[in-house]
């Protein structure tokens, strides 16, 4: 290096980012893990009773609301997976038909631009028990339909799922559409020549070819489900009762409303572990993808 400053400037320029990573991420995570072992309530305490270090975790898994949260996490995950299926169907149809592609893309993707609070507000209003869609459905004679899902604990979660699918289906459609377009166009004509049925073509050729796209979508979806917070606040506030609690909501509730720091920290640590479990396949998948493309090139 001829210019002396060149050697130091890059290192100096990386200082802020390095500091942020060390303090705001790594330090903060360790801090929260430490707090989860203490008896902290409203204010942090830094003494750990080593004979009873797991007490917050014990309390956590005895807490009904937490168990509901975990259950809802799975329900929400499975329900939101419909967005991937829906997104794929939309993408496949748009890709085959081609007419009106940009119009449909625009319509299916616009929910993504809107805040989840707005999405929640809109669906909360549609599900309104007195004046909402139910009233309309009853007025046209279908009085046996229950459309005020958010008012009942058994169905409230389905309302949340519907709103999340509405919000995110377009995003998966965009990913799937990109995946479909990258498929060699000769496959379509080859399939036609061989007389392969359309259904068979998709289930046995196209979908297996797109498995990487599907796995990517699944991982992104799971990460989104763990982070689900805004939509719960806007639609149900965790209610009725505690029927729509999810871990993200539970943790923040424990911290800000109940002022229970050690307890909330324990919940956050479990959230981190769940994320790590989802994250691991992503790393493996990337490594696998890497090796495959490496072998090809």
């Amino acid at each position: 290096m001829t210019f002396r400053w060149s050697r130091w400037s890059p290192q100096l320029a990386l200082m802020p980012a390095g500091l942020v990573t060390l303090v705001a991420f790594i330090g903060a995570i360790l801090w929260t893990i430490y707090l989860s072992l203490t008896r902290s309530r409203r204010l942090p305490e830094y003494e750990i009773d080593w004979t009873d270090w797991g007490r917050q975790y014990e309390r956590l898994f005895k807490d009904d609301a937490w168990m509901i949260s975990l259950q809802n996490l799975i329900v929400l995950g499975l329900g939101s997976a419909l967005a991937i299926v829906f997104g794929f169907i939309l993408a496949a149809m748009i890709d085959r038909e081609k007419r009106g592609e940009s119009l449909f893309r625009t319509v299916f993707l616009y929910p993504l631009a809107i805040s989840l609070i707005v999405t929640g507000a809109a669906w909360r209003w549609i599900f309104n028990p007195e004046l909402g869609a139910e009233h309309f459905i009853h007025s046209i004679g279908l009085t046996w339909v229950n459309a005020s899902w958010l008012a009942r604990p058994e169905t409230a979660m389905y309302g949340v799922i519907l709103a999340s699918v509405w919000q995110s289906a377009g995003f998966y459609m965009a990913l799937m559409l990109a995946g479909l377009k990258s498929i060699n166009s000769e496959i379509w004509s080859a399939a036609r020549l061989d007389g392969v049925g359309l259904f068979k073509l998709y289930t046995e050729i196209i979908i297996p070819m797109m498995k990487f796209t599907f796995i990517t979508c699944a991982i992104l979806l799971s990460l989104g489900v763990i982070k689900a917070y805004d939509v719960i606040v806007a639609m149900t506030n965790g209610g009725p009762g505690q029927s729509t609690y999810v871990p993200a909501y539970f943790t923040i509730q424990a911290l800000s409303a109940k002022g229970n720091l050690g307890f909330a920290s324990a919940a956050a640590v479990v959230m981190l572990l769940i994320t790590a479990v989802i994250f691991l396949p992503l790393v493996l998948l990337t490594a696998w993808q890497q090796r495959r493309s490496g072998a090809r090139g």
Partner: protein, 310 residues
């Protein structure tokens, strides 16, 4: 750290690169199957439009008409009353000054957040991509992991830190947290963009006695137009739509518009004015929607590149 590149490619580049060969389609008669497909797509499009339709019509109705319960009917009398209420007098908590407070808070949060988050990550991405720095690989890997960390696990420490720095509850507190949380993903986006710059250009620039900052401002920044606009749009929409950071770090004085809206719609006392609520929801949604309808393509590129941000 090529594995990061692969993931970014998988997540980001897929949509950006649409390499389908274009064949001029022969004019063919519309088939029965086409009609069925188009009909299905149209029904789905209708499903996607229903909430927007309901929100828009409700916001122009009077409360009297809303009480009749015909949700999907058009307004009898089109009135801007609800919009006026939502903007000027709607209550958020105990303050009844409308959403305009939150709107201006959101605007003043947006600007420093954009400057801080993009400034921090563009320099970091540039240094990591084009300069030989020690630990660049491990650092990138750590950033990749940080991009996935759930907010809840760093929430309390960040509150304590901002309180110690005396920025908790202010515009700057919210802006700093936006910059911190966006840093990993944005750095990876910038780094992936810059790493494709040929090494020869860099060697020539260094030979030309270009310093780190000189090269950045004279060579790199002028050629980052594409990526900057994508990141800018990604950040504008995600900062505007953010609720969690705003409600956690905004205190009472720096609540963005989404927080006001959430307070308004979850209020449980008194008679609920649904038309006000829907007008407020629309007011909050308009800025990102305008961006979406004007530069939708760039928006989608940004959202896919930043997908891991969740």
């Amino acid at each position: 750290m090529t594995d990061l590149t692969a993931t970014q490619k998988a997540l980001g580049a897929e949509v950006a690169v649409r390499s389908a060969p274009y064949f001029p389609r022969k004019k063919k008669a519309i088939t029965g199957r086409s009609i069925a497909v188009l009909a299905f797509l149209a029904i789905c499009a209708l499903f996607f439009c229903i909430p927007l339709y309901v929100v828009i019509t409700t916001s122009f109705k009077t409360m009297d008409q809303i009480r009749e319960g015909a949700m999907f009917a058009l307004p009898n009398v089109w009135t801007l009353e609800a919009w006026d209420h939502a903007w000027n007098t709607a209550c958020s908590g105990t303050r009844c000054e409308g959403l305009k407070v939150g709107f201006w808070n959101s605007v003043s949060i947006l600007i420093p957040s954009l400057v801080l988050s993009i400034g921090l990550s563009i320099v970091t991405g540039y240094a990591l991509a084009l300069w030989n720095v020690k630990w660049a690989g491990p650092f990138l890997f750590v950033l990749f992991i940080c991009a996935f960390v759930p907010f809840q696990i760093i929430m309390f420490p960040l509150i304590s830190m901002t309180a110690t720095l005396k920025v908790y509850g202010s515009i700057w507190g919210v802006a700093i947290i936006h910059a911190v949380l966006a840093m990993p993903v944005l750095t990876l986006i910038f780094r992936n963009y810059y790493k494709d710059i040929p090494q020869e250009i860099m060697s020539a620039a260094v030979m030309d006695s270009g310093s780190f900052w000189k090269i950045f401002f004279e060579i790199i920044l002028p050629m980052s137009g594409n990526i900057l606009i994508v990141v800018l749009i990604l950040q504008i929409t995600s900062i505007w739509n953010d609720y969690l950071i705003g409600v956690t770090f905004g205190g009472l004085g720096a609540q963005p518009m989404t927080v006001n809206l959430a307070n308004l719609i979850t209020i449980s006392t008194g008679t609920v004015r649904y038309n006000d609520n829907m007008a407020a929801a629309l007011l909050t949604a308009i800025p990102p929607l305008v961006i979406y309808f004007f530069v939708g393509k760039l928006f989608v590129q940004g959202i896919t590149a930043g997908a891991i941000k969740g």
